[in-house]
C-alpha cells in the first residue's frame, strides 16, 4: 500500500525465508567470514575468467538459498537480480542456468534493496508465492569495467573503496503459517536520484551519502517514525567517509539519530588491516552483509527492527570521462524480526 510520498507498507508481511551468501578470498579473511555460506579462497572460483567467476558466485548463492528452503527452483516464480557489469550479463547468464522467470534490475549498488522491495511488493499482493532476489559483484570484473586493469599499478586515494567479491540471494515468500520468528519485510521506500555535483569516481561514499540521507528521511517521514524508531539504520556501501557525512548531514537537518544506530556494511565487511581504504563497496557489499551477518544478528536478538538502505552511484566510465557528475540513488527496506 502506498504510504506517504514514495513508500510502501506490506500488510501481509512477506518474509525472507532463506538466504544464500557466497564470497571470495578477501571476504574469507575478513571479520564476517563465519556469516558466509560458501567462501572461495581463489577469486577465479574454478572458472577461467573473472566474469565467469562472477556468474558462478551468483549461481552458487541461488543454489544454497533454494537448498536451505528445501524448495525446487520450479516453485519459484521470479528471479529479480542485477549487478554492475555491462548489460548485467553475469546475472542474465545465471538466470539462464536456473531458468526461473527473470526480471533484470539495475540500480548500481542499490540493486539489492530495489530487488528486495519489489520482491516484497510482488509477494505481498499475491503476484508470486516465492521470489528470489539478489545481487553479486566481483572485484576483478568491476575494476576492469569501471577503472583500470586489475594489475595496473595505479595509486588509490584513501577515499577509494574495495569492491566486494561475492553474491547474496534471498528467497522471499509469504510468512503465513510460519510460527517461529523470521525476518519480515514491513515497508519499503524507493529513493529518488540525487546529484550533489561530485565528480571523483574514487570517492563514492561522499557522492552517495546525500542519496542515503534523502531516502532515510523520506522513509521516516512517510511512515511517521521518529529518528530512533529503528534499532539500526544500516547503509549499503557508504564506507567510512560516507557514513560520517551521512551522520553529519542528518544532524544538520535535525534528524537526531543516535550515532551508534547508523551503521555501514562497507565498514563491517573488512578488517582495518586488509588495506581496503574507506571500506567495502559494490552491489554484493550490501547483499552479503544483510543476508549473512545482519540477519544472523537479528536471529540472535541483537536487532529487532532495522532499516536497510542500499546506495548506488549511477555512473558509467563513459559518463565520468564526459565529465558528468555522479548521480546517486538509495532504496530502503524495513525488516522486522517477528
Amino acid at each position: 500500500m502506498l504510504k506517504g510520498k514514495q513508500s510502501w507498507t506490506f500488510a501481509n508481511a512477506p518474509a525472507i525465508l532463506t538466504t544464500g551468501v557466497t564470497g571470495g578470498e578477501m571476504e574469507g579473511e575478513g571479520p564476517l567470514k563465519d556469516d558466509f555460506d560458501l567462501l572461495y579462497d581463489d577469486n577465479y572460483v574454478n572458472e577461467d575468467t573473472h566474469e565467469k567467476a562472477h556468474r558462478k558466485l551468483l549461481e552458487d548463492a541461488v543454489t544454497i538459498a533454494l537448498k536451505k528452503g528445501n524448495l525446487k527452483k520450479e516453485k519459484v516464480q521470479f528471479f529479480l537480480a542485477g549487478d554492475l557489469i555491462n548489460q548485467i550479463t553475469p546475472t542474465s547468464f545465471a538466470a539462464r542456468t536456473n531458468s526461473i522467470p527473470h526480471i533484470g534490475l539495475f540500480g548500481a549498488c542499490a540493486t539489492s534493496m530495489e530487488g528486495l522491495a519489489l520482491a516484497g511488493f510482488l509477494t505481498n499482493y499475491n503476484g508470486a508465492e516465492y521470489v528470489l532476489t539478489g545481487t553479486s559483484s566481483h572485484k576483478g570484473a568491476v575494476e576492469k569495467q569501471f577503472r583500470y586493469p586489475t594489475d595496473y599499478g595505479g595509486q588509490k586515494p584513501p577515499t577509494a573503496q574495495w569492491t566486494v567479491t561475492g553474491a547474496g540471494v534471498a528467497l522471499v515468500g509469504k510468512s503465513v503459517g510460519i510460527l517461529k520468528p523470521i525476518p519480515k519485510l514491513t515497508s519499503a521506500t524507493i529513493g529518488k536520484v540525487v546529484d550533489m555535483g561530485l565528480k571523483d569516481p574514487f570517492n563514492m561514499g561522499g557522492a552517495m551519502a546525500p542519496a542515503a540521507v534523502d531516502t532515510i528521511m523520506t522513509h521516516h517521514k512517510d511512515l511517521d517514525h521518529g529518528p530512533n524508531y529503528y534499532d539500526a539504520v544500516i547503509t549499503g556501501d557508504l564506507g567510512q567517509i560516507g557514513n560520517k557525512i551521512a551522520y553529519d548531514m542528518l544532524q544538520e537537518k535535525n534528524f537526531l539519530i543516535d550515532r551508534e544506530r547508523l551503521i555501514d556494511c562497507g565498514m563491517l565487511i573488512y578488517n582495518k588491516e586488509q588495506n581496503v581504504f574507506a571500506g567495502g563497496s559494490g552491489a554484493a557489499c550490501s547483499a552479503t552483509v544483510l543476508y549473512g551477518h545482519i540477519l544472523n544478528k537479528m536471529k540472535k536478538g541483537l536487532y529487532k527492527r532495522i532499516l536497510f538502505v542500499s546506495t548506488g552511484a549511477l555512473l558509467s566510465p563513459l559518463s565520468f570521462q564526459q565529465k558528468e557528475t555522479i548521480p546517486c540513488i538509495a532504496h530502503a527496506v524495513a525488516i522486522e524480526f517477528a
Binding site: 583500470y148 599499478g153 555535483g197
Partner: protein, 156 residues
C-alpha cells in the same frame, strides 16, 4: 546536461560539508614515498646502464635503450605476479612515471583483455591506457621538432 552547469547552493553547501569529512590524501607522505620508489627505480636503471656499458658494446648514449627494455621486462614479471599494483599503491607516481609504469600500463591491459581473444582483446586493448602517452608524445614531439627545424632553416 552540460558539464559546465553551475552548482546550486544546495550542492555547494553539501560539497563544503563533504570536503570537511573527506579523508585527505597524505600529500607529504605520498611525495616522500614517490621520491623513494621513483628514485629507487632510476637507481636500478643506472645500475643496468652501467652493466650494459661494461659488458656490451653500448656507449652511454645507446645504453639507455637496452636499459629501458630490461626495465620493461622486470615490469612484466612484477605485473604478471600481481606485485606491481602493490608497488603502485605504495609509490604512486614513483612507480607510474618511470618507464616501468608505462610497461605496466601496457602489460596489465594486455593480460586483462586476454579473455577477449588475442586479436580483439590483446591487440585491440594493449594501448588502452598507454596509448594516450604515445599519441601526445608523438604529436607534441612533431610540433616541437617542426618549429625547431623551421627556425633552423630561417636562422641557420
Amino acid at each position: 546536461m552540460s558539464p559546465k552547469q553551475p552548482l546550486t547552493t544546495k550542492q555547494k553547501d553539501y560539497q563544503k560539508l563533504e570536503n570537511k569529512d573527506e579523508i585527505k590524501r597524505p600529500l607529504l607522505r605520498n611525495c616522500i614515498k614517490a621520491f623513494l620508489v621513483g628514485g629507487f627505480i632510476c637507481l636500478i636503471g643506472q645500475c643496468i646502464t652501467v652493466f650494459y656499458i661494461y659488458f656490451f658494446n653500448f656507449t652511454e648514449q645507446t645504453a639507455s635503450n637496452p636499459t629501458v627494455s630490461t626495465l620493461v621486462f622486470i615490469s612484466m614479471l612484477l605485473t604478471g605476479f600481481g606485485l606491481y599494483k602493490k608497488l603502485g599503491q605504495l609509490g604512486g607516481a614513483g612507480s607510474a612515471v618511470p618507464v616501468t609504469g608505462f610497461g605496466n600500463a601496457v602489460i596489465s591491459a594486455a593480460i586483462e583483455h586476454r579473455s577477449e581473444g588475442l586479436v580483439l582483446g590483446v591487440g585491440g586493448n594493449i594501448f588502452k591506457l598507454a596509448g594516450s602517452v604515445i599519441v601526445f608524445g608523438v604529436f607534441s614531439a612533431f610540433v616541437v621538432a617542426l618549429i625547431k627545424t623551421i627556425f633552423q632553416l630561417i636562422g641557420g
